[in-house]
């Protein structure tokens, strides 16, 4: 966090290697936590996957919860967790496109679904992350629906705040069903259908 690039005291080679090492650990931890949850996955599982000892792993991440937070924040970095979008693209298209993309990375959906619910349990290190994530997402979609309402493109009677929470809820819930029965559920289709009910055509 206090990285000062001005100081050349640290040698480049080892530093770059260490960064790669951290990334490979986070990748392995991502797989382990997605497949077994935070409580169900062990540091040994992660260490085995990355090919090092469990204690060496703790050299990079001082505790298991630190590793979890690194995984969650890295996930958001990669997939663009806040769903920021091209201002040219419509909300409907942006959501459908993101949903289609998500189908190509089932591991990410699984990680999200498993850890989000697990974070509700006692003393879970991921709770703040998910709580803040939901707040951020609700605000973001609230703004999007409010903008559409200003253009008269929201169906009369629809509340932007309720629609924001509902869109996120629908998205989460349909992902869970899709994980359990991929063939029986059309994620992008359900999201598109919902948005086409709420948003009036231009």
């Amino acid at each position: 966090m206090t990285t000062t690039p001005a100081a050349p005291s640290t040698k480049r080679g080892p530093y770059a290697k260490s960064k790669q090492r951290r990334e490979s650990i986070v990748t392995a931890a991502h797989e382990v936590f997605a497949a077994r949850g935070y409580r169900g996955g062990s540091l040994q599982d992660v260490a085995d996957k990355v090919g090092m000892s469990q204690t060496s792993l703790l050299h990079y991440f001082p505790s298991k919860s630190d590793l979890l937070l690194a995984v969650l924040n890295w996930r958001d970095t990669v997939t663009g967790g806040g769903h920021p979008r091209d201002p040219e693209e419509s909300l409907v298209d942006a959501v459908v496109r993101q949903a289609r993309f998500n189908e190509t990375v089932p591991g990410v959906i699984e990680l999200y679904a498993v850890l989000c619910a697990e974070s509700i349990t006692d003393n879970h290190p991921g709770l703040d992350f998910f709580t803040e994530r939901y707040e951020r997402l609700r605000r973001s979609y609230f703004r999007a629906f409010s903008a559409l309402a200003d253009e008269g493109r929201l169906r009369p009677g629809v509340d932007p705040g309720q629609a924001a929470a509902s869109l996120i809820a629908l998205w989460d819930g349909i992902q869970t069903q899709w994980l359990m029965a991929p063939g029986d559920v059309d994620m992008a289709g359900c999201l598109r259908a919902y948005l086409e009910l709420v948003v009036l055509p231009e």
Copy 2:
């Protein structure tokens, strides 16, 4: 399962006591699994709560996974998991009423949300339960929406199968958000708003 009431070989007193004991264990396990998940909750936690030793607990339920299945099936018995409804009541009213009721039993919602997502992880004893539950719920709501469609009361363009999956998804997702921020989310309101978009007034 093979209870034959015709055979009076088992004495009534002890049998009734044993039944009560099993119920109190299931109740305690319900709380533990809701608060800490299946993997995170221990048989010792349950035994402490019910006031007996961990080994005595295993006299009633031969393994931890047996206890989990007992909790899941008991939960459905109590709350009417399949959401069967009075044929006089409209779908909208039935859903809203159930959602309102659920707000009064947050522990049940928590159990459901936590264990459902956890069941996606490797070798989880609850997977079949939740998979079958979703299939059953989708069929049930599919029939309900199809019946409305036959009366011409489904908004044109709405697919009954997609609406069924979407309603369940919305319900699950909004419960998760409600668990994390009860004050910020109106569960019954979101469900009512969705159904009033999909179902046309009589």
